[in-house]
Symmetry: C2
Subunit: 760 residues, 2 copies
């Protein structure tokens, strides 16, 4: 057990009571004087020319302040990784969610009514909804100016010699796995409130995971609007879920900005639940062809993956998921020969976005299903097979990832032990496992992976920390408070964490890649260390003792076992403040990890450390209905140091439940580009009633660079769930489902198909 | 002329447009979800026992959430310098403004109605309203537990030997001067909104000039309520005037806290205009007996002052004005022998508070009227008399004030020149002048006179400064922005000043004593210097040139006359940020001036520097009506360095207009403790229609310790106005008015009286 006083404690979410009491202020609650309400009109077709738009009736409606069409959007105002997406489309629409007009009005009702008065004449075009078809030469182009629907993106690597390894392999398996659209289902719908001051500086309240990068996007929009050298203040209110959905800026934000500037009033644009389903971005669907081979002893020799990704009609940052998929592909288990080739393809479907795991769940579904198949072919127990190939501390993977700490062995042992506790000879019951690797120490995908923190401590021993890190419900405020409290010998209630306001908080690249505990934690710790040094210096002087012998703990500064040399920290602070040349203590720190951007060959140590885990599941399959019942779920993770085990386990539980939905039930159904289940009745989210018992094992393998040894754990929980389930179903009833979600219909059909086949 | 780029420029108030557009958010505009409205019931008598309070009918009124009486106030919850003032009184009331009950209700209307339903049985007691009478032994006691109405306060000093000097003096004058109640007349009335979070931490929006000290007061109230170790966040919204009125915490704030805690909801308590007149504190009325003498050459030999101050029923920080009155008494002009004895006396009148000048206008009225009288007696021109006795740089005054820079000579010359421009032989026209000394470099009246600042600069060269300093309309945000912009080579629009929020802003002792430009300016400058050093370091590296040769100006870093070595600062910042080990630039600074607390003998160098000024006025007196017309007003000030001459002149104009009201028309009329003119019809505030032409002369005598040489100038403008006017009236018509305000009635009566007297 650690000797920590605050770190490692199960301290409930600091804002839990506030949320429980209904006092938390979400974007929905923000009301500003004179505020107008914005609404967006979406395309009627998946692919069409806009022949004519008549907004005259909408403009004439009393209470309407502005109506915008694509003509009102400055030419250079474009969104996404490719900058191929103007917030309102002009001339042509490429998907049902394409924005064609927007309105600001005195009430949401008037705004909605005005949308109905906008008359648009379309000329429908042939749509393309299947990425494989879209790759064919004769297919219609989603964007005429590009010669092909295949994006010119570089996701291609080859380390070692896959061809040679394949020749040498004793066993080889090859299969195709597919995944579909799922969505984040944030309980708080998206929205923004934008307002300009008299000097055309912008303040925007918005649901974002990237206040600093969103600020940059909005500054670019302002520039496109001719507003140069302005200030943009991004404030993120409390949000009801992120999960990656807010890692980009969206049309609604830029439209709110355009409307606010046009009307010279604050404009609020909030999604209703249907819009949340239809107009936010999904996890990217993938078609994954995977081939793996091993030698006769089960040693993995190669991995060869081809992938087709449905990019949808526009290119968000979500299009860069292959950069993260490479991680499990090159580095989950020891494998020297790896080839990967991903194609992102424009279609007239909805465009995708980041979602918890950022490509890793898709890739891991294919890899870990395939690993089980290979183990079977090699005649090796799947757990044993993984043990043979597991990662080790000190490894450098083909992609150049430096594995500092790795608890995969512990996780494998634990999951095996848990699953073997119960005898598994019941009919239609099976067990399955799957492992994961993920970044656990930041992920350098931008020019800086850094985060700043500023800390001040008042005369009463109360601390304010301004962090670049974004709390979006995951509990970064707790983590930051616990880290600072531990370092300064205070209690968690002494620490106030101010986040998500670019005026107050230093820069941070955003809440992604499970990086916040590690990077924002280190930033806060760095500032706390500077303040601690000053406290010890003052303490040394006032208690007349060497600084090295002083300890800060429980609001006291003291020499252990010397009751004479002890003083409440707040008293020390007042002495420091109220003396000649006195001062209050403040400090700042900017922590940018020494991780590397991936090079041209995609090599580079992307993260300061990596996190590992193994999930095991026991399922029972109803062979009459195909329904899969999860009997037991064990999730073992290597976490470095749990700053707060309660929240950490919460991340694991939440991740697993999200993973279970991904595995078994969730799917955004699209028919010719149209979302067919934009509501919680038809979109089968895993809910409380579907919850299963999850046992989380948390192994502490303190990482040298992590704050108090911690690694990130935000995403891993949902990464290996689907293959673990698929493997367990195979173990239970001998059918292998390769496309997600594994619905009862698919299982039943496979069982029937299997029964038709002659017995081995 | 200075070589500054931003400092010294006439840059309009940064929030001017926001205010002009009606977008500034005052306390009145704050609405929180579920907010209740508080109202206070005041005493019906100036002095009475409370026999019985029946709140049952008020409590039963639908919409009423809480009714508080003195019984609901914790015993230790007391306000003011003496802690003699509970926010709601129990058992006894001592003035008409004494709070006897408070209500929180769903609407202000219900709250008001509920007040009317509170039934109180009083037993009236004899009141005492004249401080001289109150000093008599047989007078009723305002507070029975004190043996006397005279407060046990130590305002007594004697430097040199006044008795001896008096014997040696060739000329001696002696007279009594009196001043009365005037009030701040803030356009924004007082108010607060208090709310508790689930953990009983308090947030209070309040009109205050002392966020950090108010936080301390509120923490003490929380402690009295049994809420220990809590956090208090004080946020000051934009306020419509301070002028010293907000240098203490008030009953309404503590009542809002009590109500918010009782109701578990936000409670807003806003004064209406009548309450603003009756329930806020006035400038302290003074009875001043002054004797001064000089030798035959006009050299001032001694000054002997006895003062009686009407303390009212309770003791606010305003009771400490004698500590500042000492400044002109001991240090306005060179005078070696000084004696001062002030008595503060409880009465059943309203209690007083700080007001612009903090006692200095009262003292200077007596001193500068008396100086003219002494000059006349000595047969010396009053301007010449002042020149003989003026302060000099390098002087150390009897109280120990170290005069670093002093522009009194320049001010005297300029005012004389201006006044002599016009021939003065018109009938009933006269000129008068008066000088002033005031603290210009902080004022150490608390354990710390410090202020903290935190600064961060983003990738676009935009700066956020969190300052402890409080902008209350005086323009500290501009001053801070100009200082930081100058130091960092940026423009004023690049600087965002965040102030008046204790969560975000470092500690500061408060906006008083004209200290903000000096102290908060130095804090911001200190932080800017640290960032500048880092900028130069980066610049030196990137431009491959020694840091010493680099200049920051106009958003550029460059080597003068070397076009090769130049780069936009924002580009440099991005280079610093987006490089290995990169960082964004942040810094903090705490500036506590090296000034001294006054010792037991009241000696000590209270301020790092002192500011001087001379006002001259030409008046015409209507001998038929007694009405005084101000024909010309010249205000010459020694300001160190004007950071922003536009705002500085604004401070002078505003001060003079306030001084003119004090001199000629303003008076809170009290009859047996009752305010008889609690409205703008009967309280004769100087308004736009009364405005006179004021010419401000600003002399720059850069002070070594001031930021860019600046001294404070917030208060001086209103200090010498009244004696200048009184002296001019004497010059015009030969009557000496010794009690303020100098109304037409008093002038006419004096003229009539004079006419009755035999000619000399």
């Amino acid at each position: 057990m650690s000797n920590y006083n605050v770190v490692g404690k199960r301290i409930p979410k600091l804002d839990a009571a506030q949320k429980a009491m209904g006092r938390a202020e979400y974007i929905q609650d923000i009301k500003l004087p004179g505020m107008l309400y914005g609404k967006i009109l979406y395309s009627k077709y998946a692919h069409a020319k806009i022949i004519k738009i008549d907004i005259s009736k909408a403009k004439a409606l009393p209470g309407v302040h502005a109506v915008l069409t694509g003509n009102d959007v400055p030419e250079k105002m474009k969104m996404g990784f490719y900058k191929d997406n103007p917030p309102i489309k002009k001339g042509k629409v490429c998907s049902f969610r394409d924005e064609v007009a927007a309105v600001a009005a005195k009430t949401p009702e008037i705004a909605k009514k005005a949308l109905g008065l906008i008359e648009i004449e379309y000329e429908e075009l042939e749509g393309i909804f299947d990425p494989e078809k879209a790759m064919e030469k004769e297919s219609p182009l989603v964007h005429e100016h590009s010669k092909s629907n295949v994006l010119n993106l570089p996701w291609k690597l080859h380390y070692g010699d896959v061809e040679k390894a394949q020749e040498e392999a004793a066993f080889v398996v090859e299969d195709r796995f597919t995944t579909t659209w799922v969505t984040h289902c944030c309980m708080g719908t998206s929205g923004a409130v934008a307002l300009f001051d008299a000097s055309d500086n912008l303040t925007i309240y918005t649901n974002t995971q990237i206040p600093s990068l969103a600020q940059k996007d909005f500054l670019e929009s302002l520039k496109a609007m001719g507003l140069k050298n302005k200030r943009v203040r991004v404030i993120k209110p409390i949000i009801g879920g992120g999960f990656g959905s807010k890692l980009d800026t969206y049309a609604y934000e830029h439209i709110a900005i355009l409307l606010a500037h046009k009307c010279r009033k604050p404009v609020k644009l909030i999604f209703d639940r249907m819009e949340e389903f239809t107009a936010t971005s999904t996890r990217q669907p993938a078609i994954i062809d995977i081939k793996q081979g091993c030698d006769k002893d089960g040693k993995l020799l190669f991995r060869d993956i081809k992938m087709i990704l449905d990019n949808g009609a526009h290119t968000s940052w979500g299009a860069t998921t292959p950069s993260v998929m490479m991680m499990p592909i090159t580095s989950l288990y020891r494998v020297d020969n790896v080839r990967y080739d991903a194609k992102c393809v424009y279609t007239n479907n909805t465009y995708s976005q980041a979602m918890r795991g950022y490509g890793n769940p898709q890739a891991t579904f294919a890899i870990e299903s395939s690993i089980d198949m290979l183990a079977e072919k090699a005649g090796i127990d799947p757990i044993e097979f993984r043990r043979i190939n597991r990662n080790h501390p000190g490894d450098i993977t083909p992609q150049g990832f430096k594995i500092t700490t790795c608890g995969m062995d512990l996780c494998l042992d634990t999951v095996e032990k848990e699953l073997r506790k119960t005898a598994s000879n019941e009919k239609s019951v099976g067990i399955g496992i799957a492992s994961l690797i993920h970044v656990g120490g930041g992920a350098r995908i931008y020019k800086s992976d850094g985060c700043g923190a500023i800390l001040k401590i008042d005369d009463y021993g109360k601390v304010d920390v301004f962090t670049g890190g974004t709390d979006m419900g995951q509990g970064l405020d707790n983590i930051t408070a616990q880290i600072v409290a531990e370092e300064l010998g205070l209690l968690v209630e002494d620490i106030n964490v101010v986040h998500s306001d670019t005026d107050v908080c230093p820069w941070d690249v955003g809440a992604h890649a499970s990086r916040s505990t590690f990077v924002a934690g280190n930033a806060a710790l760095g500032a706390a260390k500077k303040v601690k040094a000053k406290l010890l210096e003052f303490g040394s002087e006032i208690l007349d003792t060497p600084a090295e012998s002083l300890v800060l703990r429980d609001r006291l500064i003291f020499v252990p076992n010397d009751p004479e040399k002890s003083m409440p920290i707040d008293k020390l602070l007042r002495k420091a403040h109220f003396s000649p040349g006195g001062t209050m203590l403040m400090a700042d720190h900017f922590y940018d990890p020494a991780n590397e951007n991936l090079g041209k060959d995609f090599k580079g140590n992307m993260s300061m450390t990596y996190t590992f885990g193994v999930h095991g599941v026991r399922v029972k399959v109803d062979e009459e209905t195909g329904k899969v019942q999860v009997l037991e779920y064990v999730a073992a993770h290597d976490v470095g140091q749990a700053i707060n085990p309660l929240l950490l386990e919460g991340q694991v539980y939440g991740g697993v439940v999200m993973g279970l939905g991904y595995a078994l039930s969730e799917e955004v159904v699209h028919q010719n580009g149209k979302n067919m289940n934009a509501n919680f009745r038809d979109y089968k989210l895993f809910t409380a009633k579907d919850a299963v018992k999850i046992t989380a094992y948390v192994f502490e393998t303190p990482d040298e660079e992590g704050p108090f040894g911690a690694k990130g754990i935000g995403e891993p929980g949902c990464v290996p769930t689907a293959p673990a389930i698929a493997n367990a179903i195979y173990d239970a009833v001998g059918v292998r489902i390769t496309n997600l979600p594994i619905t009862p219909e698919k299982v039943l059909a496979a069982i029937k198909e299997k029964k038709k086949r002659p017995l081995n």
